[in-house]
Symmetry: C2
Subunit: 407 residues, 2 copies
């Protein structure tokens, strides 16, 4: 489905698991819903790789071509499976609905395929062995795919990898360091002298909204060897980056902040203007955050800043809503009104226009109020769009809070 | 870069623009950072298509192989370009930094290439004509790619499409209907009798967190013909779905809700527990929302529900924080405290565990308080993870508010 609205998370999920089994993903192909092209792509994938994993196109509609394309590529027939059809009918009955006739297409199974049951939807998966390799068909909706892959596909994959390589899979292990407060090229300059000494592990730097990740990927005979190699290279990078590394286990910044708050028996409140709830959304994405996250205020208008956070009306008039003084008053007000140990405020102009007394587009002020008083910082991202300014602002607020908590 | 953390939005953006020019995207390939494989993939793409657009791999580090791979695939030399190098140095100077030596790699240009300047970063793009086709190299960071593509690449593409097809490009136009309150197969059953009558436009149904989209894609000789065809099929779908269609122009639900509020001179406040700010984040993603969005409260703990929203403490004890009564009290409290015309509340248990008096994982209550009183609804998503329950809950709240505003 090559339209412009489809983001693919499935392949990222599958890649992670394949890597853990020592299987390298050499290419990923996204093919339009066109039967000849799809069949051709599946044929060449089978020639080029030992495992071909397909996701999507198993639904009931005429767009759903994966079954037909695989059957054509493998030159096998499809056979109607009564048990699958009954299962789909039953699924509809429990929702008090009648199975639409088109769903019968989902009961067609390729000759010789092993069926992978779907706990979360109507599309069954299929596992087909061919010429010493394997073709796997998984459903497209990410939650269906994840459940089916983990429960039904992964154990078979492990066995297949073992039998194809003639021994235990060699191990790929990864170490993920997360860094904030550096640009991508600053980070690369700092660590290139280290990672260039090693062909293995492979090093990749990823940048996302000023959040940096360094991925080290070691491929060794055993998990233990891979782990030791990662420890060796990781220690050298550690020595260079020090406390700029905020996480070594994949935890996002909000989770690290949460652990620090919990360990310090402290609580957190928020006061958001420009981000409208985005900071709270990130903070509360951490499971169990109610131990340290109280909540807070979204004060999008000046009146809300005055009424909910006691920001002085004349301050807003004199300094404007996007100013260091307003950020400070918002953070202090949120802390006072909630009784939290710490309060973080964000006020800014995310664009696209400059209204009234507003600061220029891309200007953001962050305030942090804590036991020792209130501080503010500001940054300007003049060339960024609304979504990016908001994402940067939330990241900046978490980064600053993280530094305060580490002091 | 085939690790498991990379989501590709660039190709979606490019596909949209290519479609608008009448260029169909036949395949998308993601290739690991390995020079031979990359070179091979570029060679076969050039054989298979008239336009090959590459994104990423133009950075300064050794991972950045796209320049070398294209040079190898086209059998052309690379030449150091002093002007690009000076520009990068200048860029670093304005940030009070010295250009790292590795950035000089970014000044290498393929023989015969036209340079595409980068307004937002150090990686220049390149436009190379080869055997009547075109190879384009664009940077990987989405904001750099978007800016370069729109300003520098698109005008050239238009001319190239015209010269290759020997006339004005034929037009692909799309109509995007957004629907809520139906499942994917209910939607398909309702409209399949219509769209199956037409080979052109092509119809696709997309489902995302219970938000449904129907994309109609018409390919005709002229934009006018494509527009008329879409109007004809769109009207038939309209007759069947009626007010289940909430948007016909790509506007997301939060923008549609915003337009309704603005037209009714009404304002909105929020009171979020389980979603922690996610509803406010979506609402405030709409530019200009300060005309109708006041803000509100994130009340993650019971104490905050009591202190910030006047939810009675004994109600929380008797009914629990995840209950219809609590949702109603939260919405009414937010409305009273902010003076908004409407207030929407969300309380639920997004998981992963059941704490204290909590409802089961996946249970969500939504309250809406308005001029005529307060109503509540609830839904249970027992099989969904934390992120999905939170996304579903925000969508449910917007859907319910949308219906109230349409009454």
């Amino acid at each position: 489905m090559l339209t412009h609205k489809r983001v693919d998370t499935n392949s990222l999920f599958i890649t992670e698991h394949l890597n853990n089994l020592g299987v390298e993903v050499t290419a990923k192909h996204v093919i339009g819903d066109e039967i000849e092209r799809l069949t051709g792509a599946i044929r060449s994938a089978i020639d080029a790789a030992q495992f071909v994993i397909l996701s999507g196109g198993l639904g009931p509609t005429e767009d759903d071509l994966t079954r037909d394309a695989v059957a054509a590529a493998l030159n096998r027939r499809q056979i109607f499976n009564q048990a699958i059809s009954d299962g789909i009918e039953q699924r509809f009955r429990t929702m008090n609905r009648v199975m639409p006739e088109i769903n019968r297409r989902q009961a067609m199974v390729i000759e010789g395929a092993h069926i992978l049951a779907n706990d979360c939807g109507t599309a069954s998966g299929q596992w087909i062995e061919e010429r010493g390799g394997v073709v796997v068909m998984l459903p497209g909706p990410p939650h269906e795919l994840k459940s089916m892959f983990t429960r039904q596909c992964l154990p078979r994959l492990e066995r297949a990898v073992r039998s194809i390589t003639g021994g235990p899979p060699n191990a790929i292990r990864t170490l993920e360091l997360r860094i904030c407060g550096m640009s991508e090229s600053e980070l690369d300059q700092a660590i290139a002298p280290i990672y260039k000494q090693y062909e293995n592990p492979a090093t990749t730097i990823l940048a996302h909204n000023s959040d940096m990740q360094v991925h080290l990927r070691a491929r060794c005979a055993t998990e233990r060897d891979a782990g030791m190699l990662l420890a060796e290279v990781g220690a050298k990078i550690d020595a260079v980056l020090g406390d700029r590394i905020y996480s070594r286990n994949g935890d996002p910044l909000e989770a690290v902040v949460g652990h620090l708050l919990e360990r310090q028996h402290a609580t957190l409140a928020i006061a958001e203007s420009a981000t409208g709830g985005g900071l709270g959304e990130r903070i509360s994405s951490v499971p169990g955050c109610s131990a340290w996250f109280l909540g807070g205020f979204v004060t999008y208008t000046n009146r809300m800043k005055i009424e909910l956070l006691d920001v002085p009306a004349d301050l807003l008039l004199r300094k404007g809503s996007v100013s260091a003084d307003t950020a400070a008053a918002m953070a202090a007000g949120a802390r006072r009104r909630t009784g939290a140990t710490w309060a973080v405020s964000i006020t800014g102009n995310a664009g696209p226009t400059v209204d009234g007394d507003q600061a220029p587009v891309g200007m953001v002020h962050v305030g942090i109020s804590g036991p020792a008083g209130t501080e503010t910082w500001h940054r300007h991202w003049p060339a960024s769009d609304r979504a990016r300014v908001r994402a940067f602002a939330a990241q900046m607020a978490l980064d600053l809070l993280h530094r305060k908590l580490k002091q």
